[in-house]
């Protein structure tokens, strides 16, 4: 089971009080907020960016961004939702600014010997490597839902997209991982044969 990383109402109330104190000028409040949430921010950044130095930089960027924009938090979402959003944006900024991990298009052929892989437990390294090949939007969606245990609804709030978009990104990401990890016997669509055409088109669209 993924760790329960969403906060309950009591924790959220404390987070809101800390944020309000920070905005009011309390010099120690924001540091306390960071201490409470640093580990989950780190987990999101590392699983999204994979490189520990990049992830640490992203967490630092996110903390500074949250520190500066704390006055804009309107209280309509949980504080952790707001923080998750800032961390995700800091990570996506990094993937856009530098080609950190080029995404791999759907492979033309399935991995060799898929029958040998089925039923095997793949290693954690294989899973994290496969995760890194996903397009950033799909990777982030799976980090939030499958790794951090956020609901689809909360993930939609973090990413500021409709719930249907979250479901699509998660499903597409999991499908690509199933392909990468060798879980599928028939990953390729059969070649399309439009009526009246003498030759099959062949291959994936």
């Amino acid at each position: 089971m993924p760790p329960v990383t969403t906060t309950g109402d009591a924790e959220d109330a404390q987070d809101r009080a800390l944020l309000a104190a920070h905005v009011a000028g309390d010099p120690a409040a924001f540091g306390e907020l960071v201490r409470r949430h640093r580990q989950r921010m780190w987990a999101v950044a590392l699983r999204t960016l994979r490189d520990p130095e990049e992830a640490a930089d992203a967490v630092q960027d996110a903390c500074l961004s949250a520190y500066r924009s704390a006055g804009t938090y309107r209280g309509d979402a949980r504080v952790t939702t707001w923080l998750h959003r800032i961390v995700v944006n800091a990570c996506l900024d990094r993937t856009r600014r530098a080609a950190v991990r080029p995404t791999v298009p759907l492979p033309e052929q399935p991995p060799a010997d898929p029958h040998d892989r089925l039923g095997e437990r793949e290693t954690q390294l294989e899973v994290t490597k496969a995760l890194a090949t996903l397009p950033p939007e799909q990777r982030v969606a799976l980090v939030l839902v499958d790794l951090q245990g956020l609901s689809v609804a909360e993930t939609a709030q973090v990413l500021e997209v409709p719930e249907g978009t979250v479901k699509s990104r998660c499903a597409r990401g999991r499908a690509r991982l199933a392909l990468q990890l060798g879980h599928l016997r028939n990953p390729d669509a059969p070649p399309s044969v439009p009526p009246g055409s003498p030759e099959p088109e062949g291959g994936q669209p």
């Binding site: 903390c63 499958d146 499903a171």
Partner: protein
Amino acid sequence: MTDHLDLDALADLLADVDDASRAHLEGCPACSARLAELDAALPAVSASLAALPVPPEPADLAARLDAALRAEARATTPTATVVPLAARSRTRWLPALAGVAAAAVVVTGAVLVTQGGGGGDTADTAGTPLYATSATGTDYDTTTLAAAVPSLLAGTARPPSRVSGGTAGTAGSQYGPSPEADIAASRAVDALAPLRTTAGLASCLTALLDPASDDLPLALDYAAYQGTPALVVVLPGGQAEKVDVFVVGAGCAQADAQLLYFTRLPRP
């Protein structure tokens, strides 16, 4: 028959966000079979992801975040509350900076910044060394930076020298930098020009130093960090036997700390 469904289309069907593709399924046993197989495979993928352990934090992450927030707080504090204390501690090192900034680019070695450089608080003996300033242009990473701290503090840091294979020339001589190191060092220092002025350096150090203390910088190095021109600032750490090493970009001259890296090390 419409085109067969690719993996993305099958995934969207399973996520209940695509109804248009269902029409194709009704006439296509191949795609229906692929859909069923994908449906069976996805829960195992979610389980594999959920089974990934929580990655351990780097040991210095907490300290690094604290330092970055501390620098940010000082950079944005209204100056009315900061100036009296900052002015008091600044006069101790500010006059000495004038000598450093006016000097030509120091490429070959370190300058010991001394009291009595001209004006300001002259209560101390003229020539008392306060801290060492170098301009080595070294492109540090986290490991080489930690290793360089003793020589930075002692004022013995030198730019990296290139040893040209096989020649008996003076390139890479221990008595002076090679031409390549000269160029690299001067290029790094030029990018940091805003931090070479008295005002720019003072602005940066004010952002990093705790105004409530009388801390002085221990050492500076105009260099680079992972390819970016950067100023290394070594300050006393929170406890007496530690030093704080800040690596800042040229933006530090405008009181935007632009913290590239921070670490706390035992004092050599």
